[in-house]
């Protein structure tokens, strides 16, 4: 089976400071893969490079075996079926919930399909329907995360990039979010997630990478990775 996403030898630098160095990873269709790493390890840089928001210094990003994402602009990358749940949600706070969802469906020109997509999202997240005319900035953290996920799902992506979906949320909400990711994946959407919350993420993922100071230091099936000493030490409570 050919990989949905294949990153080879990717390096990114901000000026003279390297952010990630020679990162290679891949994702098979239907999989959930997680990149674990501490703050500043370069997780967000990887996601932003996949999205074309940050330019790679070297390396390639193959999507679906035929597109090199490093050569495309962000809006073109989205049209290939890649959607983003950014770190800290990054909703348009001055737009209403409904407007945020409509922006999620920006590339869909058929108004009827947009309406149907919105209806589907409101079915999945009834809370958002109640609040559809509120400004996104006025919602609670958990509700905002729902909007961020709904905004990404409404375009029916093939690959969902999730940047620390659990950050800043209450433990109960975090569990809901991870359950939601599992459900999304069962709908056939592949997910690449970066996380610090290793326990929950590893329970969900098929495969995991460990990122340290911009480089992948461990890679393997999630079950095996969770037994590695380094992961135990840094993420699963050993060092706490």
């Amino acid at each position: 089976m050919s990989a949905l996403l294949k990153v080879s030898g990717l390096s990114v630098a901000y000026g003279a400071v390297p952010a990630i160095l020679d990162v290679s990873l891949e994702l098979q269709p239907g999989e959930v893969r997680v990149i674990l790493g501490a703050n500043g390890a370069g997780k967000t840089t990887i996601i932003k490079t996949l999205l074309g928001l940050v330019r790679a210094r070297s390396g390639t990003i193959q999507f679906d075996g035929k597109h090199d994402l490093t050569r495309l602009k962000s809006h073109q990358i989205h049209q290939l079926g890649i959607a983003w749940v950014p770190e800290g949600r990054q909703l348009w706070g001055s737009l209403t919930v409904l407007e945020n969802l409509r922006m999620g469906a920006f590339i869909e020109h058929d108004e009827a399909k947009v309406e149907k997509g919105i209806a589907t999202m409101f079915e999945r997240f009834p809370r958002l329907k109640e609040r559809r005319h509120q400004l996104a900035a006025s919602l609670s953290g958990g509700e905002q995360q729902m909007v961020a996920i709904a905004r990404a799902l409404i375009s029916k992506p093939r690959l969902l990039l999730m940047d620390e979906p659990s950050i800043g949320l209450a433990p109960l909400v975090v569990r809901d979010i991870f359950d939601l990711v599992r459900a999304i994946n069962q709908d056939g959407i592949s997910v690449l997630m970066v996380e610090q919350n290793a326990r929950q993420a590893l329970a969900l993922a098929h495969w995991a990478y460990l990122l340290e100071i911009g480089q992948i230091v461990e890679s393997g099936p999630a079950r095996e990775i969770s037994t590695k000493e380094r992961v135990q030490e840094v993420f699963l409570g050993g060092a706490a």
Partner: protein, 291 residues
């Protein structure tokens, strides 16, 4: 006395612009870019004009008082704008400049809308070259001093500078005080050369010239702005075109410098490397391929 014939006005104006740009350079050391340069120069010009013309003072004491009045107004502006953030500070200084211009416009004692004319000719080539050399020396000294280093630290990172115990208030008072004093001195010399000073000369459009000199020359070194001031005040005088063509050339130079030498004509390699590293690839999506 030195004479240069045809060249004299060109050299005098260029030298006065050097004095003003040295003053603005000092003022801007801490990152607070004043948009009221022409207004501070105008204060110097008006003060000296009133003292010599209306009160019959000799030239040197009048110059001294003009210089001190520049320092005082600089310190007042420094205190008023101390807490303001970058962009608001620029606008506030702009408003101060415009307010001074309007004040001059409405004060009958200094000629009102018609401006102050009949100022005695005192400024000579020797004077302007001497003061220009002095200004460069002062700017160079301030740049290298403890206050100068503190000011640069504040410009680069206000939080870090604060934690090292450098007082923003001291830095701003000293840089605005000395810088504005030089600017007012230059303005007084100008008034005693062109023999008339009008309220519009204090306005934002005139101040912009000096901002152009400073930014086009590069804020990282003193030499960049000084050289740019000499070039940009000299070249248009030498091109004997009609006024409009000169101004078009001026506009083209501004656009060209901003597009192709964004850090200014003269840069410090060490500093520019640091500047790049700090530049986030913000909004990179819309400007790809610029790694």
């Amino acid at each position: 006395m030195l004479t240069f014939g045809f060249w004299e006005p060109v050299i005098v104006i260029a030298a006065i612009n050097v004095i003003l740009i040295c003053g603005l350079y000092i003022t801007a050391l801490s990152g607070a870019l004043s948009m009221a340069t022409a207004a501070f120069a105008g204060v110097g010009g008006y003060v000296s004009a009133v003292l010599t013309t209306n009160l019959d003072w000799p030239f040197v004491p009048a110059l001294a008082v003009a210089t001190v009045s520049g320092a005082i107004i600089g310190c007042i502006v420094a205190l008023v704008t101390l807490k303001m953030k970058d962009f608001v500070l620029k606008i506030a200084t702009l408003a101060v400049g415009e307010a001074l211009s309007i004040a001059a416009f409405n004060i009958k004692y200094v000629g009102g809308a018609n401006g102050f004319s009949g100022i005695p000719l005192y400024t000579t080539m020797t004077w302007v070259l001497g003061v220009a050399a002095l200004s460069i020396f002062v700017a160079w000294r301030v740049d290298k001093s403890r206050i100068g280093l503190g000011a640069r630290a504040i410009r680069d990172d206000m939080v870090a500078a604060a934690s090292t115990g450098i007082s923003l208030r001291t830095v701003r008072l000293v840089t605005f005080g000395i810088g504005s004093a030089l600017i007012a001195l230059g303005g007084a010399l100008l008034a005693h050369y062109v023999l008339i000073i009008s309220p519009s000369q204090l306005g934002f459009l005139y101040s912009l010239n000096y901002i152009v000199f400073l930014l086009a020359g590069g804020i990282q070194t003193l030499w960049g702005p000084v050289l740019t001031a000499i070039l940009l005040s000299g070249i248009p005088e030498l091109l004997r075109f009609a006024n409009e063509y000169r101004l078009i050339a001026y506009g083209l130079i501004i656009v060209a410098v901003v597009m192709w030498r964004p850090e200014g004509l003269i840069t410090r390699s060490r500093r520019s490397a640091k500047g790049n590293a700090a530049a986030k690839p913000d909004r990179g999506a819309a400007a790809p391929a610029k790694a």
